[in-house]
């Protein structure tokens, strides 16, 4: 009864201000083409939340439905374009991705759930975008793709899509991954810009609340690249940069150490959630 009373008060307050009528993640389940998607999971040890939630639970019914149906999901076009790139011969070695990796449905399964991972050559974490570039420059004799150019998002979407439904779990025991996790945690809690906001200000402290029309999620990254209804296909580092710009701070470069550390840490914060690439969001 107490909970009902509290809910009543919250609803009354919400209606009084013609404001939000929804506060918590919705009670809904997701299945895509018969694959069950974990949208709520017990948080890993040391996590500030008890339970982690997919951003899908914070979106409106229409947006959720668009992701539920892969025919309706506009992000699937990127996955199809990515498949073409997977099979496209490029570079002096006369190879495509498929020349070495064959059927992505088999060889890439699990990749989207386990990156970023430790790269012993560069002594840094490597994500899917940078792994593609490493293959291109070292194996294919092709140029590295510039950030968000040349089909980078599409190929990344295609590769991550092969892990649809698999729970995210990155290996922090390899190399210096733990130190990069720590560095990423520092970035996450550092207040940025004239508005003096950290990632945590919105996605931890104010999770579930509304900032203007936006229902603040936990800022999970399990669905990237994501299809945003207002701006189309959006890569993770593009989203990081957009959020940081909105604090009125200078934007770090994509794939900079700062953002690679953040990707490592934030990916860990979504441990146990299914890969949802390409997710559909606001």
């Amino acid at each position: 009864m107490k909970r009902l009373l509290i809910a009543g008060v919250v609803m009354a307050a919400a209606f009084a201000g013609s404001g939000p009528v929804m506060a918590d993640p919705v009670d809904d389940t997701l299945e895509i083409d018969g694959t069950p998607i974990v949208t709520r999971a017990k948080a890993p040890e040391g996590h500030p939340f008890d339970e982690v939630y997919s951003g899908w639970l914070f979106r409106e019914a229409e947006t959720r439905d668009a992701e539920r149906d892969s025919i309706e999901n506009p992000g699937m076009i990127a996955v199809e374009d990515g498949e073409v790139l997977w099979n496209k011969v490029e570079g002096t070695a006369g190879k495509s991705c498929a020349s070495c990796h064959g059927d992505a449905a088999e060889s890439m399964k699990g990749i989207g759930a386990s990156f970023p991972k430790w790269d012993a050559d560069s002594k840094k974490p490597i994500n899917v975008e940078l792994q593609i570039n490493k293959c291109r420059t070292e194996q294919m004799g092709a140029e590295a793709l510039a950030f968000n150019k040349g089909g980078q998002q599409e190929l990344t979407s295609y590769i991550k899509y092969q892990s649809l439904g698999m729970p995210v779990e990155i290996d922090l025991t390899q190399g210096d991954m733990q130190a990069w996790w720590e560095k990423g945690k520092d970035v996450y809690y550092t207040r940025m810009g004239q508005l003096n906001l950290a990632c945590a200000s919105c996605h931890e402290k104010a999770m579930g609340k509304f900032i203007r029309a936006d229902h603040l999620s936990q800022g999970q990254v399990n669905g990237f690249p994501t299809y945003r209804l207002k701006s189309g296909l959006t890569s993770l580092h593009q989203r990081f940069r957009g959020c940081i710009r909105d604090t009125r701070a200078e934007q770090p470069k994509a794939f900079s150490d700062e953002l690679m550390a953040l990707e490592t840490y934030v990916t860990w914060r979504g441990t146990g959630l299914s890969v949802e690439t390409p997710s559909v969001r606001q």
């Binding site: 009084a16 810009g193 003096n196 104010a206 009125r248």
Partner: protein, 154 residues
């Protein structure tokens, strides 16, 4: 005299005038916080509640509605709820405390407070170059917003 020179001179004259008008303006670093809040007006010029209401809802200025609801603004879309409703806020706080909260709420609440300081240079890292050394609101806009908040009585 070229057109550009005229514009430049005009702008310089305007700056000189506004500096003269706000000679008594308190700079962000000189704002004094007391137990009662910020008791001294930042400009000595009474705040205009109508201008304050505009700054309150403008996304380019205060954008206060991003985080707060206010029944008074019910015609505006998309009130946030990161912060408390501001209905009756003037019955809960005296004017000096409202001014202190708008200037830099971290002095009133805690360092953990999400709300930005609207007249503070104690800000986050790597401020974008267009905003370096600038406050979110001007001293007079703070006075205007405080005047508007003063109308929100129970």
């Amino acid at each position: 005299m070229t057109r550009r020179m005229k514009i430049t001179l005009g702008a310089m004259a305007a700056v000189a005038l506004s500096t003269a008008a706000f000679a008594s303006e308190v700079s962000p670093d000189a704002v004094e916080f007391t137990d009662d809040g910020v008791t001294v007006s930042l400009t000595g010029v009474a705040g205009d509640p109508a201008a304050g209401a505009e700054a309150f809802k403008s996304r380019k200025l205060g954008n206060c509605l991003a985080c707060h609801t206010s029944t008074d603004m019910s015609k505006e879309l998309f009130h946030g709820d990161v912060g408390p409703s501001l209905d009756g806020v003037a019955s809960r706080w005296e004017q000096p405390m409202l001014r202190a909260i708008v200037v830099n709420s971290k002095h009133v609440f805690t360092d953990e407070t999400v709300m930005p300081g609207f007249y503070s240079l104690n800000v986050g890292q790597d401020v974008a170059k267009d905003f370096v050394g600038k406050t979110i609101l001007t001293a007079q806009q703070v006075e205007d917003v405080v005047a508007y908040l003063g109308t929100l009585k129970e």
